[in-house]
Structures are given as structure tokens and as C-alpha cells.
Amino acid sequence: MDKIFTVAKREYLERVRSRWFLVITLAVPALMAVAFMLPLYMAARSSASTAVRHITILDATGAGLGDRVAKSLMADSSLTSQETDSIKPRVFAVAAADLAKREAEVADEVMLPEHIAGYLVLTDSTLLGTSARYAGRNASTISDMDKLQSVIREQVMMLRLEREGVRQDIVGDLAKTRLRLNSERLSERGRSGSGVSGLFAGLLVGVLLFMSIIIHGQNVLRGVLEEKSTRVAEVVISSVKPEILLAGKVLGVGAVGLTQQIAWLGIGAYLINFLAPIVLKGSTAATVATSAAGTGSASPITAAMGSLSPMVLVIALAYFLIGFTFYATLYAAAGSMVNSEQEAQQAAVPVMLLAMSTWLLVNPVMLAPSGKLAVVLSWLPWSSPIIMPMRMGLTSVSPVSIAGSMVVAILGSIGAIWLSARIYRVGMLMYGKKPSFAEVAKWIRYA
């Protein structure tokens, strides 16, 4: 047994000492942080800008709709910002006959640099609830247009309510209604973060697990291939059983993966917490919260990290080990069958397909984490190590299901070890042409 650790120790130290390990361990969290920050940054940028206030309103309704819109825009807290508080929409009441002339003048104004962003035309048809017109530099900024549209719609509705004789104070009350849906996940353990941060957590866990399993699984394949092609395998196998060499290798590389995961989580958490304030500087916390997460908490990422309870992390790491063992031993078997890197690519295709099939189904699982597909996938040994921890981040899964799927996954891994050890035992000493499936089947039977 101590020879397993000798093999594992060599695998671990040689890999951890390599420059690549350092690069990947540092680069991945950095990339992840960027990948998570970018949408946030974009979200912060893409919420309605203060430009919607910097407009001229041509009001041809004769009902004061322009003033109402202007007031509503100024009252909107999501547009608050120190520098631009002084900017107010200008409202001109115009007669329907003069509208064309005025519009041309204002359009010229928009074209001047450093001037108003655009102009809004409100007509009788606006009052009827049919249409309004806007022309401006930010006309293609979806969030600005959404904001403008919702404000106009709201004001038209209020105006008409008043006209229909609804009491002024009731209308005012209605206008203050700002319904926001705060989603919160409920599970047996109680309240655990928002739904959105759960989504982040689930995705984070899924991506990390999938990446690690594939990266380190292929490392095992490459390691096996190296031992075989340099012929060092024969010396090693004369000292230890092939099964021990295989087990030690999987154990050692697995430990490397575990080290890397923990480093990733640590560095990732630090980077996100450290970077988030810098990236989001200038946008108010409220903006970020409404646009990206809707939770009202400081940052959805920190919330996501927070919603990963230690228990989920521990189970995720356990699943990593199980899933890694499953894939790594299969990769090892693939590596032992072949003699070159090119052949290895081919031999690894079935293993890769198994992993990819899981990855392609991650999206549907995320959308319906308690759906039939998600449940089935979390019981299959090749997909459960990725799907189950994800689901745990997304929804609440009963401990019985977790334990059950883990047992199935462990049994699956044992099956994979059994199968791989037989292929490996024969394959490591076979040189020459790549074996056919029929030949490999014979190895499994006779080994």
C-alpha cells in the first residue's frame, strides 16, 4: 500500500512543481473573475443612463403630459447621481400646427456636440395610448428607451385615470407603486440566499467541476502515455503492480486537482471581492442590485459565494473526487491502449463524449433544477458529479437523494476502475498498432 503513496507523491510533486500548474492555478481564477465581472460591468453600464433626463420634450397634447413625464424622470431614484442632478428635461408646450417647425429646430440642437441627447414628441395619439416619438443619439440604447417608454406609459395611464375621475390622491398612490419581486430560495435548512445568487453558485460549481475533471483526467491520460512511450512503465511495473501504479497516479493527480480547486476557490473569492468594488465604481450599489440581481445586496457575486454553504462545498469536493476517479481511470485506460498523442485523441473520444453529453445538458438543468432531466442526470454516475452539486446550488435536494446518487457514482467509479485496470494491465505492455474494440474486449475478458 505504501507504494501507492510513493507513486502518488511523485505524481503530485512533479505536477505541482511544474510551471504550468502555477500558470493555470493563477490564470483560471483571473479569467473566471473577468468572466463574472464583465456581465456585471455591462449590466451596470447598461442600466438606463442619466441621458434620458437630458432631453427636450415637445408636448403637443395640451394636457400637460410633458411636465408629468419630466417630473417622473426626475423622481426616478435609479437615475440619481451627484453630477447630473442639475440636468432636467426641458418641456415645451407646442400647438399641433407648429410641431413640425419646432421639431426641426430641436433636431438641429441635438446634432450640436455636447448638447441634449434627444427630443421626445408627445401628441394626441400618445394620450390615446398609441404612440410617442423619440429621436436622439441614444435612440438605440435599449435600456434608455425602455425607461422612457415605461415612464410615458405610466404617465399616460395616470392622466387618463384622473380624467376618468379617479381621486387625485389615489392616482398619486398608484404612481408610487414600485413593485419589485425579491426572490429568495427556501429549503429545509431555511432561507439561503437569493434565487439568482443560487444560479451563480450552481454555475460556478458546475463549471469548476467540469473543467477540473476534464483537465486532470486528460493529465492522467498524458501521464500514462508518457510512461508507456518512454518505456519507463516496464521498470515501474516490475516494482509495483499495474493496478497500484494506476491507483497511485489517479490519487496523485486527483490531489493536484483538489489543491487546484481549493486554490481556485480561494483566489477567485478574493479577486471577486477585491475587483468588484473597482469595476463597479461610479455606478451606485442600487443600480447594480436592480439590474443584475434584484436582491438589493451589495454584490451578487459575494452573495453567490455566500450562498455556497460549507456543506455544499464539501459535497462538491467529494463529488469532484468521485467524478475525477471515474473519468481519470477511463482516460488512463484510453492512454494505455495507444502509442502516440494523436492516437490518444481518438481513444479518448468516447470518454470525452460522455463528459460533453453532461456538459451540453447543464443549461436545461439550470433552467429546471428539479425537472425530470435533472433528476435522471443526478443519478447517472458520469453526470451526477457535475449535475448534483449544481442542483444543490440551485434548489434544495433531499439528503437521501444526495447520498443515493453518491453511492451510485462511487459504484460507477469502482466499475470504471475495474474495467480500466484490466485494459491498462494489458495495454501498458502492448506496443504496435492501436487495438480494435474487439481486441480491447478480449483484454477485459482475459486480463
Binding site: 507504494k3 510513493t6 507513486v7 511523485r10 512533479e14 511544474s18 508518457e226 510512461e227 512511450s229 518512454t230 518505456r231 519507463v232 516496464e234 521498470v235 515501474v236 511495473i237 516490475s238 516494482s239 509495483v240 503492480k241 505492455l429 478480449k442
Partner: protein, 321 residues
Amino acid sequence: MSALAVDIQHVVKRYEEHVAVRDLSLQVPQGSVYGLLGPNGAGKTTTIRMILDIILPDSGSIMLFGQPNTAPRVLDRVGYLPEERGLYKKMQVRRVLLFLAELKGLKPSVASPRIDEWLARLSLSGGDKNWGDAKVDELSRGMQQKVQFIATLLHDPDLVILDEPFSGLDPINAQALKDAVLELKRRGKTVIFSTHIMDNAEKMCDSVCIISRGEKVLDGTVAGVKQAAGARNIALSIAGGAQNGAGEVLRDPQLVRKVDDNTNFFEIELAPNADAQVLLHRLIQAGARIDRFELMQPSLHQIFLQRVGAQGVETGMSGHG
């Protein structure tokens, strides 16, 4: 007879299409240098791999130092240099050696000073560069072979198995290897090596076993093998050539199996069961004037060709290469 280092009894290994080793039995006494001879494809490597428990025989038993070779730790007493050599290319030489020694159960604290010793002895350190700290792929091929040789002997094994150790060695390293084998023998270690270079085997081995097509052709001490084979060959010189009755005597299939006629000089292979003394007597009776009549001890090379050539070489499995 001293205790046996290796005792193989009736070992059989079948593969899909052919039988690699067929009912092979051989005994290697402790402290001897043993040559496993045979053409390529004869089953030498398969036999060695079975001794090392790398592959399992289909039937038969293999004992090392009186224990089954599957017993725990027994293989720690064996050092193995495979025919196809290789090391972890990206690893430091010293770390590779330490790893391989640890696999043989050696503690790093014991292995480390020995590695220094060996590196110095094979002049891989002490010069302007200490190759122990270099990566394996920075070393020349010759240096890598030295490192591999160190790996074989680092744990001071009682049994050293070398598969085709001379292939790819230059004359200087080949001589160094011969010296090393003889030194191991002096220290009471057992050495088994496979080769198809009979010259080396004849000079170095106490005992040999010739196998062909997975079967033992003959085995025994080198002296014994030669003696057994040698009595069948005669160098004969007849003054004036084989005239009259002498020629008839040499053509008698009861006595002579084959004769290489060089007019005055004859190389004769005796017929099975024929007695050299009878041949001599008959030649004198026939009135031949005999200048030389010598029972020749053939070289191992000749024995090999004679015994294996009929089967192995005929089918294209040439004895070299």
C-alpha cells in the same frame, strides 16, 4: 548445489495466436551468472516478465529465493533492466532514481547517499556539471543508459535481471557492463541476462539456457553444454587426403553425419550414437595416415546455430538483430 535464486517449473504462457512459452523449467543457482539465450521471439522477454510478475503464466510456478514471486516484498530483492529503456524525461535524474528506489522499498535517507555514490562512480557528477540535478532529457543517450543502470542496482538487489543489456551499448560501456556483472558475481549476487550475442554469454556465464520457440533446447553449465555438444565434432587431417577406404569410412552414415571436405582437412560431425574412437580405429584400419584427430569443443555460437538453426533461423527468426 547451492540454494536457487530462481526456480521455474513447467511454465506455460499462451497468447491469442501462439504459445510464447511452452512448459519451460529452469533453475538458476544463487551467486551464478546465467545466460538466457535464444533468437528473437523465442520467449526470453516473456520468461523474464513472468519471473518479475509483470505478466502471469497460464500454468506452472515461479519461485524466487524459495518464495513464490507473488509474495510481498520478494520482488524488492530483484533489479531489472528492461530491453526497452526509458525514464521520465522531464524529471530530475536524482528524483527519478529516488522514486525508483522508493518503489523497491528503500528509504530516501538510505537511497540519497547511494545515489551520490553511484553518480560519482559512473562519472555523472564531480566534473564541471552534476548531472544528478539535470532533467533526464538533457542527458545524452549514453548517460541515460548509465542512469538506468544505476536505477537497476541502487537498491542492492540479490538478483539482477538484464534483458538484452548489450544492445545499443558502445564497446566502452559494454566492457563496463561486463565488469559490473563480474563484480556482482564476486559479491555473491545472482545475475540473469538474456542475449543473442553468444560471445558475451560464453565469456561471462556460469550456466546458460537456450530457448527457441518458447521451448528449452538445452541448459546447463557452459562447460557442461560445450562438453556435451563438443564430443560430436572432430577435426581431422589426413596426409594425402581421404584415399581408398578412408573416404568410404567418412561416407558411412552410421559414423558420420556430416563432413566438410577440404581435401586434407576435414571437419566432421559424428552421427548420433557414433563413437569417435570407433571412427579413429576404422580410419587407421583403412590405412589413412592421420596427422591430426581432435575432438573439438564448439563455441556456444556454433552450438546455438546447430541446435536452434534448424528450427528458429529457418523460419526467418535470425539469431541476431
